[in-house]
Symmetry: C2
């Protein structure tokens, strides 16, 4: 990923966030022409909003006035009286609700072309002499109330008030001069009609925090939230419902939502605008108390009716359908068909209740039916849904869409929605602690939603809201206009976001850090990391992972030191805490892995690693204590209360559990031990002699062994000597905490080594003697020539970066394209357009060709790691093909319709894939001779995202990522992440 | 198992050890008549052994003379001169080698009927006036040299010198009076011609010990060993060969073996009387140095020839055939058929070398070919073996025979042998630390060997020899005469063994302890125990296992306190150390399991359990230090050097590794937690409410939950109350170290409970409130009547003891019989005779009927746990059948010929079975109605040993043993082991 710093105009950002029409118009330079908000005489121009305008618009206008004050030091005075207008002013209003605005339209001063009548659109226009007695106005006119509100907040954002100014303590940069370039700026309608979030899994963090700071999830809290949503151009909310009932906890909540202009809903399993808690708290008042439409219908209908009636005056999207008692499956009536019938009758009754309660036809009230977990089966079984109801597809709880509209389905009036997870308490596993949602992954999946026409409603489960600030904003920006955040614009968007929060000086670096920690957290979510996740012995995998994190920590610390003091609270919550805590967590697990490995090897340093685990476990607590108690003066206390260490089941542990650590009884061991690259065993001890991975002159990767004290943890007294002059030995520190554990790098001076295969040994001599076998293969000149430009070498497994193809063959406008920064690599490849038709014959389909060099003839394993995408269209498989040279194409199919039908919620296989955030598809190819070959990947179905290719002659060794791609050292940043190693 | 104390005559034992013909003849009472060894005037009678007799006989006679001294305080004077005979004497000699004995035979004084010409037989006879001038003699005459030697040692044993007097420091009880009842006592030939042991896997213990005490594995060491073997009536030895070479390490070794009368061999993979180390140390002198008959034949032949030539004068059994370089498989020549051809040519060449080297026809030199691990395949592929060579079948390395002679094979002249393991370094896993070989298991398998005619050679791999004293002696006793140690005599044999070592006073208890610790160690070998082996939450399994061990420790400590000081070294090594160390080891792993479980439950006592693990880990070291350094003044230093904690692969760890322990960060948890019987979860926390296993009035087992502090480890402040008057709550200590963790036993006062199903709850109230759901079912009078005498109840899984059948049906003399004390139960059942023919129709086969009471109609799982026996005859399966009432018989087949052929060394399945020392065969039966049923087990194949039956409606829960059998409390010893629970 390359984030380049782009030239900026003034303080404004050319694109980014929800791309603002004002992006290039706002200036902080008094020499620039434009509408002057800060007259030279001091103060700011007043802001007019009609007293008769919609209340939410007046409220947002007041926020704009205050925001101007945050920037300039002087809040704008608000004028609501049309009879006393100043000669220069800002005007905010809703077309049709602001007589002043309507007059300017009527007089032709304000041009609302492309705005009037649209959903949530607005125009910003500087107008000279807009009204009698007024010299100049900056008019913000909305097509409807949210259009006006978004317009007002757009100006706020552009003058430097982050939507997160309160929610993430982003400081506002003071400006002496504010101008808006003369002109007309139009913002059209959003791509997705309803864009929202779901506060969920809100204990212990959000609940604890709201209790301490607001006394509960009341209007004081929701007011803060609604403001944030509107500043982010969201319009839809599923409120918190874990032991919370939005409409009951504070009777002011629901009216206030309407007042702000927020469209309320209820979660996927809470129909008819009622929290399930309202039922569980009061079930005694409802018939037999059973949440069962078959046995307690009149009471349940009454419950439904109350939910609708009380929302008669509110803009809502009504969740319909019915699941079981709580967030569980519906109790079956005996058969799937009878359950479908029951659900159809429930929905019919609900629509009747809606029509009566809302006093208008049901089809005029937005409704949504959510296919969550098991609910899919009723739809698949043929449930008839009224055409105006939005059909919402839930993902797999881990951000992978399960279903998209087929071409045949797409015509429905109610359209389609997506319920997406950035946080989960439930299967396949909970992740509630930290942001593990890299933006390219969100993009890749939500782009499918958009391209396949699921864009009536997008809602994301965001847990406690914090610390998901970044992905929330991205998700909403993409919902507004997917074109603004195309796959090649994500890095730029992130950079702009960073600049918005922290200024331009560190924006590149902060964007890198924010993108990277999310990416690393998605390699495997922190909750799913174990001491043995990353291999300690193969490919230096754990070491490279820790080094990648350490690099982030160093860079984040450097930024932190360089930032102004008033920026550090925001930086801690948005970047520094997650970077430090996640780096520490990974290193803690890896130390626990070393403790276990070192115990097996009887290293004296086993105890040192146990202490390291304990130290890091305590440091994790320090970091969250800082978040809760020190950062922003304790403003966010409880927001980092979520346990996150020691998962033993799908749900979080009651208290963090330190990875267990061992100790060895060293009384009977003395001297030193040796452990070699690629092997958990140690010597003296294991009965077969130690042997290093084979070195070769094409790969040119060194190998190593480690020597360590056994028994007493005292410095080693060993000599290490090679028996061949062409062997190079370099001593360094072993991977671990103890400086007494040493690593001996073994490399070959290829100029001196004989051509062909040579054997050598390195002898470690001390209290005992251990001889380590080395094999080196120097290529012949012919081999060198043959291998040039190809991946592979003369020994060992190797990776091929999927972007390293020698040829990409498009077919009929369908092609493999890169998705930068996706998954576990620098860029993944996928089929575009994403809704292209499947190909039966991969050899005639879009394909990618890779040059590989294979050391010998024979059979090779090729592991193709893909994204964990699912088959999203019924009846279509998810397949991809591979072949070597002109060999037969092997087609691997991860999901067939039978798979989906036979597996409960996609089964264990997919649960493993979601944990890995990837899927390994194993192919076998046969090379008829050693040397250079062409390995081809051919498309079968779209939505397949390929990440890496690992080629090996033997069965692949234990490793989370497989062999890394090798890059030659080109500079300090040559290795882009743990998926690469640098060749010295 | 019941060990009854039997009446004893004098100090002698009526049977036991190798049953001695002198057992009832030796008296320590001067009032009893007989040949007087201790004349009233003091001293002892002299011992005559002809100076011309075989040297081994003279040496053993001298041992007898010294043994008499050990008992009486005066060693017998040795006379070798026929010309100066005393008037009363002991005579020891070999028929045909002792002129005096031959003269007594010639004169009719000595009756050698049934002895002369036999293999290793002897007669002991008191003879008045046996020779001119001699008034009385006690004559011990052997049919051959070992006959005479065994005769001499028989008297030694009978007067109270244990074969282990030196090797286990068994003190000799002083006796003032020694007499042998007048008469003639004949000992016939042994059942098994060659009976021996294999010192193997002899580092670090035996190697370290011999180095320190003898300066190596030299003649000083082997002399001690040969004497022990002869005292145990063994005759055959495979010497230590881990970095040892018997014939080279001390040139005196081989001649001394011949001198003692020990038949030497070499291990299964060391052909032609040569240690493999002789090759590896000197391979440079042999051709191209490759241990490869295909490429280095002349050199290998030379090596073979030297081994034979140097043994020309010695009694040996020559190992023939050839494996790979070290204890590994032969390098293949390309195909199995060509390998067979190669092996056949090797064997032919070896026989030519033997004939030449020994200067007699090869068929006159005993030879053995050992089918070890992969060697079976050559035989199975049709390798032709000369008829005089003994074909030795190796077990599976864990004491389960893999193969026995078929009726067609049995005629071969060389017969068959067995290579049996009591110790292993290799697959499926190493066990080198302690005795885990219960005698009933050895009996069960070696009885198959004997009954199927594999009794030419029996050899046991005994590791370092110590601490396998008991099973070694049992194995050799059984080899001598299997009839002496029939399955119903094992307990008595053990008791006699205990009396022999420690006297009658504590013999019952010591025999119980010795049998029990071996039995418990075989439930799962200590090396294979893990923190989660025994369930902490189901059936109180870990708790019952620990309680069983604790009981042994208490009893062993009591015996130790009661013993004389001079007996304590022997007791420590034979009983107290293994009992204490193995109990500690199990409790340590269980504490580690609690640490992990308690962390999940956020118990404050998590830290207490971590400390307990550390304490027990250190205690293990203390115990072995005592064995090495304190016991017997350090005589056995290094014998307890074997690491045994923290196995992570098949081989032992380099140093003991403490089970890892965790800690919890309790800063955010307070108050108390609740955990319930049968569940790892805890409350408050888990989202579904806590619920106890259902109680029922037929099973009448109470259940429980535990309450514990979370956060600070302070005493609980809770009240526990029931909402029904018939619920009984009893408070006690939880299973764990912390006294603050409490257990609340929940039971029902059945007289007060309503008939049928009732629900209730128990409320725990403190800082929070947790309500635990209880369900109780009281049987109707009709149910009570129906269930009487049957196993089972109204709820939950249950076990049926296999000995609890209501009817056993024999067919044609074939029947199910009990093997007392086998495996994981009080007694197992198997088919006798063990070589009965298979039955195709189980309903017409020998069967066992069990009455079971099933709470409801429907499908039940029945887990039949069998011994891990293998199918021992090619072409025969290993199957058993089960059915309910008149339902169809379900036949389960564990091994088919295809299994054996397709799996490398029996595969992972059998490896798991050997770890479990059992095999679970899952059956499904269908009950057409609730109530009383007959469950029947029908024979298909012999050698199947059944141990337990577990019946459950739901899928069985995680548990090592399954549900325990329930016994009503009948007294302090009512529960016989962890396979039972006592109903209060």
């Amino acid at each position: 990923m390359t984030i380049t710093r782009r030239g900026m105009m003034g303080g404004a950002v050319a694109a980014g966030l929800m791309a603002s029409p004002l992006a290039a118009a706002v200036r902080f330079d008094r020499r620039k022409p434009g509408f002057v908000l800060t007259p030279d005489g001091g103060g700011v121009v007043p802001l007019f909003v009609d007293a008769a305008d919609i209340s939410g618009v007046r409220r947002a206008a007041a926020d704009l006035a205050a925001d101007i004050g945050r920037v300039t030091g002087t809040a704008a005075r608000i004028i609501g009286d049309r009879a006393a207008l100043p000669d220069r002013m800002i005007v905010v209003g809703t077309i049709g609700h602001s007589p002043l605005i309507d007059r300017m339209i009527a007089t032709g001063k304000l041009d609302v072309t492309g705005v009037t009548g649209k959903w949530e659109a607005f125009v910003v226009q500087t107008i000279a002499n807009p009204l009698p007695g007024v010299r100049e106005a900056l008019v913000i006119a909305g097509s409807d109330r949210r259009g006006a509100i978004y317009g007002a907040y757009d100006l706020s954002r552009m003058i430097g008030v982050s939507p997160w100014y309160w929610w993430a303590d982003v400081p506002v940069v003071r400006q002496a001069h504010l101008r808006v370039a003369h002109g007309r700026y139009v913002q059209g309608s959003p791509a997705v009609k309803y864009r929202g979030i779901f506060l969920n899994d809100e204990a212990p963090c959000l609940s604890g925090w709201t209790t301490e700071k607001f006394g509960g999830m009341n209007a004081k809290f929701y007011g803060r939230l609604f403001e944030l949503l509107l500043r982010l151009r969201a319009n839809y909310l599923w409120p918190a419902m874990w032991n919370n009932a939005f409409a009951i906890d504070d009777p002011a909540n629901a009216p206030m939502a309407e007042d702000y202009g927020i469209v309320m809903g209820t979660s996927h399993h809470e129909p008819m605008m009622r929290a399930h808690k309202e039922w569980t708290d009061n079930r005694a008042e409802y018939g037999n108390g059973a949440w069962n439409y078959a046995t307690n219908k009149p009471a349940v209908r009454k419950f439904f009716g109350e939910g609708i009636t009380r929302n008669r005056a509110n803009e809502v999207v009504v969740t319909i359908g019915m699941r079981g008692d709580g967030d569980v499956a519906l109790e079956s009536t005996g058969s799937l068909q009878s359950d479908v019938k029951l659900l159809e009758s429930i929905i019919a009754d609900q629509r009747a209740i809606i029509a009566q309660g809302m006093a208008k036809p049901a089809e005029q009230v937005p409704q949504v039916w959510v296919l969550f977990t098991e609910v899919y089966k009723y739809y698949d079984a043929g449930l008839k849904l009224p055409d105006d109801v939005t059909l919402m597809f839930a993902d797999d709880n881990v951000g992978n869409l399960r279903r998209l509209p087929t071409p045949a389905e797409r015509g429905r009036k109610g359209g389609f929605g997506i319920y997406f997870h950035m946080d989960m308490h439930g299967g396949p596993f909970a992740y509630q602690w930290i942001n593990s949602n890299p933006l390219p992954k969100i993009w890749e999946q939500m782009n499918l939603a958009n391209q396949y026409g699921a864009n009536e409603i997008w809602i994301a489960n965001v847990g406690d809201l914090k610390p998901l600030e970044l992905p929330i904003e991205f998700f909403l920006a993409m919902a507004w206009n997917p074109a603004d955040v195309g796959k090649d614009k994500i890095a730029g968007w992130t950079r702009d976001w960073a600049e918005r929060q922290f200024g331009a000086a560190h924006a590149d670096e902060i964007a890198y850090l924010a993108a990277r920690y999310g990416k690393y957290n998605a390699l495997r979510k922190p909750e799913q990391i174990r001491p043995d996740t990353f291999s300690l012995v193969n490919y230096r995998e754990a070491e490279r992972m820790c080094a990648a994190w350490d690099d982030l920590v160093r860079r984040a610390d450097a930024v932190n030191a360089a930032l102004r003091a008033d920026q550090r609270d925001a930086f801690y919550q948005l970047v520094l805490y997650p970077v430090r805590a996640c780096a520490n967590l990974t290193s803690m697990y890896v130390a626990a892995g070393r403790n276990a490995l070192f115990a097996e090897q009887a290293r004296a340093s086993t105890a040192v690693e146990a202490n390291e685990v304990r130290r890091r476990f305590r440091y994790d607590r320090e970091l969250s204590d800082t978040y809760n108690h020190v950062m922003a003066g304790g403003k966010w206390n409880h927001m980092m209360d979520q346990t996150h260490i020691g998962y033993f089941d799908w749900y979080p542990p009651e208290a963090d559990i330190m990875p267990p650590v061992s100790e060895v009884d060293s009384a009977d061991v003395t001297g030193f031990g040796v452990a070699v690259d690629g092997n958990r065993r140690s010597w003296p001890g294991y009965y077969l002699p130690p042997e290093l991975p084979t070195l070769d002159s094409i790969t040119r990767m060194p190998t190593y062994f480690e020597v360590f004290p056994r028994g007493a943890d005292v410095p080693l007294a060993v000599t290490v000597t090679a028996d061949k002059p062409w062997l190079i030995i370099r001593e360094g520190k072993a991977f671990g905490v103890s400086p007494r554990d040493r690593r001996y790098w073994i490399d070959v001076d290829w100029a001196k080594a004989p051509v062909g295969r040579s054997e050598a040994s390195v002898t470690v001599k001390g209290e005992q003697t251990v001889r380590v076998k080395v094999t080196a293969i120097r290529a012949t000149p012919a081999q060198e020539r043959d291998a040039r430009g190809a991946y592979g070498g003369l020994a060992g497994p190797f990776a091929v970066p999927v972007t390293g193809f020698s040829r990409a063959v498009p077919v009929g406008g369908v092609r493999w394209e890169a998705i930068p920064d996706f998954g576990r690599v620098g860029a993944a490849m996928s089929i575009f357009p994403v809704d292209a038709a499947s190909h039966a014959d991969p050899k005639a389909a879009p394909r990618l060709e890779y040059l590989v060099y294979l050391a010998e003839a024979g059979t090779y394993h090729v592991d193709l790691v893909t994204g964990p995408t699912l088959q999203v269209l019924p009846g279509r498989n998810l397949s991809v093909a591979m072949w070597l040279d002109a060999g037969p194409a092997e087609i691997a199919t991860v999901f067939t319709p039978a798979d989906a039908a036979s597996q409960d919620f996609l089964g264990d296989k997919h649960a493993a894939n979601t944990k890995d955030n990837g899927r390994t598809m194993r192919f076998t190819v046969k090379a008829d001779r050693p040397g250079r070959h062409v390995l081809t990947i051919g498309m079968i179905d779209p939505t397949m995202v390929i990440q890496t290719l690992a080629v090996s002659r033997d069965a692949p060794v234990a490793s989370y990522f497989g062999p890394p791609a090798i890059v030659a050292r080109a500079g300090p940043n040559a290795a882009d992440g743990p998926w690469q190693v640098v060749r010295a």
